[in-house]
């Protein structure tokens, strides 16, 4: 059903740069078209005077939708849409045709083809705009300004400070009994259990000791860190006194002398069969090894590794460590470090550089490995955020900014994502905390617009859309049919593309609208 009072605007700046098209013919085609009440050819649609003129005529002729032949809609001055709104035309009823970059610039050697294409695109846009219905958006208040930070480690603390600095109310949830000075509220012995709610209005269920509590927040920062303590494998099994690296550093800081020789091995599971390691704390391991050597020059220090991943300026630390007499031993899977089951103080490994079997007395054995935090699975399930293949929590695509997840208002940082140095974790925490605070400070969430809509009579409740939506927007409602949570729908249309019953449509990109455009374009003779 076609309806509407259309205004067509043709911008010369975009469509005649370079001069390829016959604008007069386009103008004539627009004037001849059904439902077109006004045709304005302007030199530059971004010019203030042109905008005023166009909007005035739109108001006079009671225009309710527009087709603008110009460049990419994001390059057109926002003044046009503002003026249209004042004239009563919703922005969702303005169709921009990127003549400049889709017709003129790529076809400069084919003026005839470009002309027919431009005329057909005009026809398709007119057809499309008559099928459009104004989109409705809603706003919801964020009930709190809380930013909840999960984890009070390096990244978590940095996130809390950054969020508090930006004016957010911070609540830090920490699973251990550790007490640290933090801005806002610190809840020790507390874990996240489940999450409900929508972006900006999340409801977290937490376990504070034995008590279950509900915590409302606008945004969440996940800073649960690496799995420092989950080291397992043949070497850990054979050597009961082996420690994760951070325990060795703590020991040194407390003034204890480690029993020599100190041997730092990359992983307790050199063949990688039982323990998936994400990365290693080599920068810390090198600094700890240097610390040992400086404090106890007579103590022998060995570092056994497959790759010495000393990134960036840690390379200088590596050099310093070597100069101090720390012994670096590279091995590979053909000669992995082994602890003699009969004598747990003896470790053997094939030194690749020497090509020989090296035998080392174990005084202190430490591992630099950082496996994934075993809590990540529960956190990911509770917050409905994705994980990496290695067991870390992953950010969304880089296109959507680092430290962000596909769920609006939920951010991840630090070694929970992938092991990194304390300094880098701190920077990520700061970034995540400030982004969470910025999100929470908006105070409201806007949603709706071009979202999915279900015709329940067609829905067969096959659950395909529910399984496919990246945002968990569809759910089975009380009528045992799918409904869409508008607060979660991001307007991608994946559900509409996959629904076998064609029960879901994406507003503004319905099947009819897409097919009308395709058919019209194929009908053009170019």
């Amino acid at each position: 059903m076609s309806s509407g009072r259309i205004q067509v605007v043709i911008c010369r700046c975009c469509t005649e740069s370079p001069k390829l098209l016959d604008i007069a013919k386009l103008e004539a085609a627009a004037n001849d078209a059904e439902l077109v009440m006004s045709v304005k050819v302007v030199d530059e649609i971004c010019d203030g005077k042109a905008v005023v003129d166009v909007a005035r005529e739109a108001a006079e002729k009671e225009i309710d939708r527009a087709v603008v032949l110009a460049c990419h809609k994001r390059d057109v001055s926002p003044a046009l849409l503002k003026a249209y709104r004042r004239a009563g035309i919703d922005r969702s009823m303005v169709e921009f045709v990127n003549v400049r970059e889709e017709v003129v610039l790529p076809h400069v050697d084919d003026p005839e083809g470009a002309q027919k294409k431009a005329e057909t695109k005009l026809k398709a846009a007119l057809g499309r705009v008559t099928m459009l219905v104004p989109l409705l958006t809603e706003t919801e208040e964020m009930r709190t300004k809380n930013v909840v930070i999960i984890g009070a480690g390096v990244a978590g603390m940095a996130a809390a400070e950054a969020a508090a600095r930006a004016g957010a109310h911070t609540v830090i949830i920490e699973k251990s009994s550790r007490s640290v000075k933090a801005p806002g509220i610190l809840m020790s012995n507390t874990r996240l259990v489940a999450t409900k709610g929508t972006p900006g209005n999340y409801e977290l269920t937490i376990m504070a000791g034995e008590k279950t509590e509900e915590l409302e927040c606008a945004a969440v920062v996940v800073a649960t860190g690496g799995g420092w303590n989950s080291l397992k494998g043949p070497l850990a099994k054979a050597s009961k006194d082996a420690v994760p690296l951070y325990k060795l550093s703590e020991m040194l800081q407390a003034g204890h002398a480690p029993k020599g020789p100190v041997v730092i091995v990359d992983t307790p599971d050199p063949t990688g069969k039982s323990l998936k390691v994400m990365d290693f704390a080599w920068d810390e391991a090198l600094m700890t090894a240097i610390d040992v050597k400086k404090k106890h020059p007579q103590t022998e220090v060995f570092m056994l590794f497959q790759e010495m991943r000393a990134f960036g300026l840690s390379e200088i630390t590596y050099k310093e460590a070597a100069e101090l007499g720390i012994r670096f031993v590279r091995y590979d899977r053909t000669g992995v470090p082994k602890v003699d089951p009969k004598d747990p103080t003896k470790m053997t490994v094939t030194d690749l550089a020497q090509g020989e079997l090296l035998s080392v007395r174990l005084g202190t054995l430490a591992f630099a490995a950082i496996p994934a935090n075993p809590d990540n699975r529960d956190i990911a399930d509770a917050l409905r955020i994705p994980m990496t293949a290695e067991g870390g929590l992953r950010r969304g695509g880089i296109q959507r900014w680092p430290v962000a997840t596909p769920r609006p208002g939920i951010f991840v940082c630090g070694s929970a994502v992938f092991p990194k140095s304390a300094d880098a974790a701190r920077a990520e925490g700061e970034a995540a905390g400030s982004m969470a605070a910025a999100y929470a400070s908006k105070g409201t969430v806007e949603y709706g617009g071009s979202v999915a809509q279900v015709a329940q009579e067609k829905c067969s409740a096959c659950l395909t859309c529910i399984r496919t939506c990246p945002y968990e927007a569809p759910y089975i409602g009380t009528a045992n049919k799918v409904e869409i949570r508008r607060q979660l729908c991001q307007g991608c249309g994946i559900c509409a593309g996959i629904c076998p019953s064609k029960a879901i449509e994406l507003l503004h990109y319905t099947d009819d609208q897409i097919q009308q455009e395709t058919r019209t374009m194929l009908g053009g003779d170019f």
Binding site: H72, N98, R100, E101, E102, L105, P106, H107, V108, D109, D110, G113, A114, K116, K117, P386, G396, G397, I398, Q399, R400, P406, S450, T468, P470, Y471, Q490, G491, C492, G493, I494, A496, G497, I498, K502, L506, Y509, D511, I514, Q515, E517, T518, R519, M521, L522, G523, G524, F526
Partner: protein
């Protein structure tokens, strides 16, 4: 019917797909005017139905271009788009139509070469395999 220009339809996502096309245009890259670009919010929006109807309405080749997988603006959208294209390939094979007439491409916003290459590949397919001419009263 002989020597008529090929008709190619490209479903292009609004994000990196279109960004790649725009960068190409702004770098002087050219492609055949017979390529009709239909913008969709995400390549995952494309239904097998849209591709098949495009063939019915006169397309000789159809492609879908979206963001790189794992960097889709909508997370898994371009993975879904590819699944849709693979599904249609299967259907075409059952109908005795060449599978190459439909293809999926991925692009990043910085690749000026990606969109013109996809377009020219499909124009070449359309020319080589000839008009599809599915007939019917839809044309």
């Amino acid at each position: 019917m002989t020597d008529r220009r090929p008709k190619v339809v490209g479903f292009c996502c609004e994000r990196h797909g279109m960004d790649a096309a725009v960068l190409a245009a702004r770098s002087g890259r050219q492609y055949d005017a017979s390529v009709r670009v239909i913008q969709v919010p995400c390549s995952g929006r494309v239904d097998g139905l849209h591709i098949l109807k495009a063939f019915e309405d006169g397309a000789d080749a159809v492609f879908v271009i979206g963001c790189l997988e794992k960097n889709c603006y909508y997370d898994t959208g371009s993975i879904e788009g590819r699944k849709r294209v693979e599904y249609v390939k299967g259907m075409l094979a059952e109908l005795g139509i060449e599978k190459e007439r439909v293809e999926m491409f991925n692009a990043a916003s910085t690749n000026a070469w990606a969109f013109p290459e996809a377009a020219s590949k499909m124009v070449e397919v359309a020319k080589r395999l000839g008009p599809l001419d599915m007939g019917g009263d839809t044309r």
